[in-house]
Symmetry: C2
Subunit: 211 residues, 2 copies
Amino acid sequence: MTLTTTYLQETFAGTFELALLTDMAQAGLYKRVPTGAYLIRPGEYIRSVPIIIRGSVKIMRPDELGREALLYYLGGLDSCAMSLTGCLGQKKSEITALVEEETELIAIPMEKVDEWMCRYSTWKQFIFHTYQKRFNDLLGTIDQVAFHKLDERLLAYLRKKTQSCQCTVISITHQEIAQELATSREVISRLLKQLEKAAHIKLMRHKIAIL
Amino acid sequence: MTLTTTYLQETFAGTFELALLTDMAQAGLYKRVPTGAYLIRPGEYIRSVPIIIRGSVKIMRPDELGREALLYYLGGLDSCAMSLTGCLGQKKSEITALVEEETELIAIPMEKVDEWMCRYSTWKQFIFHTYQKRFNDLLGTIDQVAFHKLDERLLAYLRKKTQSCQCTVISITHQEIAQELATSREVISRLLKQLEKAAHIKLMRHKIAIL
DNA sequence: AGGCTTCCGTGACAAATGTTACAGGAACCC
DNA sequence: GGGTTCCTGTAACATTTGTCACGGAAGCCT
């Protein structure tokens, strides 16, 4: 699919000025990315900044071996601050971006990201707004890990999931949760059982209902 | 003290162009802040962006009650990303900035921060470089909390301290360490004893020597 | 049906961290 | 010197989290 200004007007109603949308239609690259694909992996270089139109992308931080802690999710009209600094600084990625639900995005080449910053004030605002959101996301993550016990974090994690998928039943295995909270499967199973006994959730195979 | 272009040229040798330094000399406000003072506290509004010239500032994240986890330190020629987003977004601060060692800084009014972004490319670079550094700092913090046990974190913490103060003996109480690592004093005492037995450190009253 | 894999439950134990309680030393003030 | 406060050490115990071991249920393939 090629980008049209009209299409962009619909999706970015109110946030970007017309001239910018026209530029975006020309310079941006529309992509549809299936569930399970990686937008970026640690060590790769970043050449464009993605703006998510629809879908859900999970941003994770890997440690030396194997484990990957969940940092935050990107959803509609979000963009990635890591990619911004990465781009402009020509650095390798320090994080993993995994598509959770099929995602539509617009990739903006880095020259344009830079160029538009001075030309369009709405773009500059968007960029800084993005930074602010990601920063707050990271702070929230730190709050969780530093101040809360695993059972609370688990419940918060499940709640956030239901928000991002707009439903009360989520499909996930204990093993996956364990990875994102940087712990082991058995521990998650145990805590989930506790939560079920406390009537916060209901367990099913491959699925968890939040009450 | 009033700012002179000459003084700025010395301290920012090579990073900023001359015209910018002249503007900075005019718009920037030089401040000397004593140890123990707060640059900002949660809930306050941010009106200017500080650039640290000398000294050391500790950035912390408070939780609902009392505890304050350490996020990172600002040192020479650092600036604060939180203040950037805070300024430009007119938000209240989410963090605490405490002066650890007497600090000299230049406060740049937020209008200028914005204005210079398009006028001076070195300023824009500086801003984004700052973002990148803070982001990496936060990622490092998350790494520590998510993947490492307390004894490792403690040792890392002590090592970082010695770096920032350029010496091998640091003055601090167990209680203070406990707060920054979001745990209790007894736990820190215990682990410090362990580290001493393992000959990593030497304990003294109010002081710890790192070997 | 039989064999295989993946996911889940669970007990038993080990290790790490948090909590409570108390005692002694150092510093300071009077 | 006596009282007070702050800092440190330490024992005992509770709770939380991590690890190992195993068995069973569901689903898939042939």
